[in-house]
Amino acid sequence: MAALLASLRTPRGLIVALILLVFAILPLLTQAFDQRYLLSIGTRIVIWSIAAVSLNMILGYGGLVSFGHAVFFGIGGYAVGILAANGLQSGWLQWPVAIAASVLWAALVGALSLRTRGVYFIMITLAFAQLVYYVSAGLEAYGADDGLNISRSRFDGLIDLRDKASFYWLCFVLLLGTLWFCSRFANSRFGFVIRGAKSNDLRMTALGFPVFRYRLAAFTLSGAFGGLAGILLANEGAYVSPAMMSWVKSGDLIVIVVLGGMGTLFGPLYGTIAFFVLEESLKPLLDLGHKGWGEYWQIVFGPMLVLIALYARGGIDSLLGRRHG
């Protein structure tokens, strides 16, 4: 937290502070301007940011392009949904089960996929995510393709998740927690091993690090936070469906991390905001002619990404000027 405060003295620190301030009081703003819909978008931005920060732990800091990260939206979400459909509404039960399921799945996928490199790693993580996707689409008892309407997790006497503002603030606090952990992780002994392995894994092995073990731990950790995002996403819409974990969502998460700035603390946050703001503004803009062009907002978004890839390799984060320390 001290590092966070120290960075306030730089321009980029001010930008971060401003973003976090707006997020902190977003429910008050949307209420004041009577824009309930914006709170819903804000909630999704916060939840997706948690997922993006968690993907950044392995993609940005570890250099491991996992193309199946949205599977943790699905696993976290379905764990909550299936328990809820069976009458188990308590969040105290649902949430730990959902995190545990995400951790187990991440450990399994990591143990197999981390033995490969490059394109093979991408393909295996994608294949495992698709596996879960099709299994969920085949769950007749839980809505199959159509998904499942659920009631929100209950933390009786503590917080009512049906209250949009309370739920939003819970998500925001969890995002802050995730960011805090990531900031510590990045400069810890563990984080340096993960980052060192991204830089040169042969060298790290030759130094005496069992690189596979550390990568597996990072992959699992990343899955745990991804599962948390899944839990929140299920509660946000009171609904789970296979679409939560389609490969398109995994692709979106990668785009967000790359767009925001890989291996930077706040990059995933910038990326998520940019992604949602562009989606929400391009759609109505393209739809001005009422010809249904809004669906094709990515035709505009795509070239913007190409420009970022060509001219701002460090993503939005690098556009904010040099990093301090």
């Binding site: 952990f181 002994r189 060192g196 790290m204 030759a206 130094l207 005496g208 550390y214």
Partner: protein, 253 residues
Amino acid sequence: MVEPLLRTDRLIKRFGGLVATDTVSIDVRPGEIHALIGPNGAGKTTLVGQLTGNLAPDAGTIHFAGRDVTRLPTHARVRLGLARSFQITSVLREFTALENVALAVQAHAGHSFHFLADVRRDETLRAPARQGLEAVGLGARADTLASVLSHGEQRQLEIAMALAGDPKLLLLDEPMAGMGVEESQRMIGFLQALKGRRAMLLIEHDMDAVFQLADRITVLVYGRAIASGTPDEIRANAEVRQAYLGDEAAGPA
């Protein structure tokens, strides 16, 4: 007779029909510099790969520090005290020189499953790393990114990283490769100063360096160790002169 620190026993490695390591038995005794020479394609890199654990031999055994390490993974051999430098410079380019060495220290300081404490303020890693950098003459470059260091400095940095874990044996794969005359001489001087305190297996093309440094030399040709002995014995060996050294080293050198 002193128990050797590293010993290979009839090591064999085949690639298809090619026998890259042909029944090689060599050893390195504590404190000595044992040089491995041989023309290109003699199988030096293949042998090094088996010693470090990057390649699995088809037959034979490798003993290190009293243990059979033939099937041990690379990182476990490093933990036992077998450190290496690479033929092609291999440093962590995105990290500072100090961070490179600090990571090498960290590799030998127990497990790294510590997620919260800031490694950049960890004097238990940084103090020995700073000493290591000063020992190789890079003290003034501590906060420079490794990618910005000159080629010679990167080679020095590699040595500092290899020494950080206080290894029993240094496996130096062409430490002078790509260095200028002056840098080579500095490196030779440095290795000379280390001599006696650390066993080294030196793979090197620079014959001047080999004959200056080595206590014993083994000559590898087509995967076979055709000769092994003191520098004088090797210089006098007719088979070696014919196979490899030519007139260059047979002369006054």
